[in-house]
Symmetry: D2
Subunit: 152 residues, 4 copies
């Protein structure tokens, strides 16, 4: 994987905290998933889509159905990282995020992520279609770079 | 992804702990990576390859270069999980693990993982070739299911 | 602090997982709090008091108001630990847990914990009195070792 | 516990991240320990004492021997917190940190912490006396508020 940095319009910042360093002296490989999640939530909030973390969701829930991460170089304690985030594709009831994690100063690439998310009903049993307002907000923000198949 | 369960010969057990449950009431998506790692370390120990967690590695370090996870169904508090682990491929200085996470009783599939690992020198700068003893141990355990290209 | 081991009637087991090891090669100091919590939830379940982790609590919530931990010796990767747990005191709307964490085989003491818990209404704003059924269950299990002041 | 805010001269900032929210919708009680640790490391760095997180310590190690936390009000997702940190006492081979965690805007108190740290040799077996340079740096920064018993 080698994501094209020029496609990303949203970024957020994270500083590596001491308790995220593992016994190898670098950020633990699972923590990067958390960093990309920070970027996604910031992205959605920027679009006006609030993720009510800590509250009961009564209408639907968004779940992660797939994650891919490529680790380029390890992040270290105190490093200031930049998470670049974009939605690259929207389907009927799922969508795809891409992320790049890099050193905020040197832009050294730390990791890349592709994640797929599905919309489910509150019971988590059946999928819920994404509404047109969501498609429009993402299209308005991303422009032609987001792939949204026309309804058949 | 839909890994063939019959190919796996190693399993280990994990019980979901309360602090691994996130604000959605299910195991956080990054925690599954940790569970698969528990399986991999158990697998290596079973092969007689000790991972000196917490000690200084003077000869080489194993790093994760890629992770793929498919989430099938969420795991919940107190659930006893089984992690199935196998090495599916060995290259010159990297190898691939596959994992299946399932409910230990019902075998309901929770998640699947493919991870790629590289052997680096202690500085983390250059790759180190895997030795033949490692190849032989994995071959002896996995039989013909592990893909090991012949040296050219 | 030096808790009297003989006072404890409930124990549960935990094996240290690799991702709980920090950059010093030992279990991170915050993780022990999680281990003691595992013991407390097991204790309550053993008394027939289910903590609905991951579900919405509609009647009350239990919150931690104070934690004290003494660290005796570090726990290491793969070590099997035993958590001893008891309720030492019940007040009107709060109660106190004590915990001992030790190596399950050698009984080497790892850490001790005293935690105070309060019962709040679902909004988290005002305290809720503990009911007599709770007092009775704890008294029946702990016998005279639990301090329960008589109502005035 | 009710620490006197006026005694604190060092502060650092932390924003609550989504994956630190537990199933009750608030920051998990063990995470606050990590936040206070962020404050302590920042404090030491400000004094010119580098904590080589992720590196091998060859001369000594600092370990936590006791932690006390009082939880005042829960922190929530996205909240910007301020950690106030001071060293309140230095003994021969141990010292005491105090911390206050508060909302960075409203100064609503979230939690308080007292932690005791010991200096050990690299094996972790015997205590190492704190040197006078450390005492002097802390005295210069804290002034008369830090308690340093005269050598007998």
């Amino acid at each position: 994987m080698k994501s094209d940095r020029a496609l990303f319009k949203h970024s957020s910042r994270i500083t590596v905290r001491n308790y995220e360093i593992d016994w190898q002296g670098i950020v633990h490989n699972a923590i990067y998933l958390c960093y990309f999640e920070v970027g996604r939530i910031s992205y959605l909030e920027n679009l006006g889509i609030m993720v009510n973390i800590g509250s009961i969701q009564t209408d639907f829930r968004i779940v992660v159905v797939r994650n891919e991460i490529d680790y380029w170089t390890p992040a270290r304690f105190g490093e200031e990282l930049q998470v670049l985030t974009r939605i690259s594709r929207i389907r009927n009831s799922s969508f795809t995020f891409e992320g790049i994690l890099e050193d905020a100063t040197t832009r050294r690439r730390v990791a890349e992520n592709v994640s797929v998310h599905a919309l489910l009903d509150p019971s988590g049993c059946s999928s819920v279609p994404l509404d047109d307002a969501f498609r429009k907000r993402v299209r308005d923000f991303e422009g032609p770079n987001v792939e949204i198949p026309s309804p058949e």
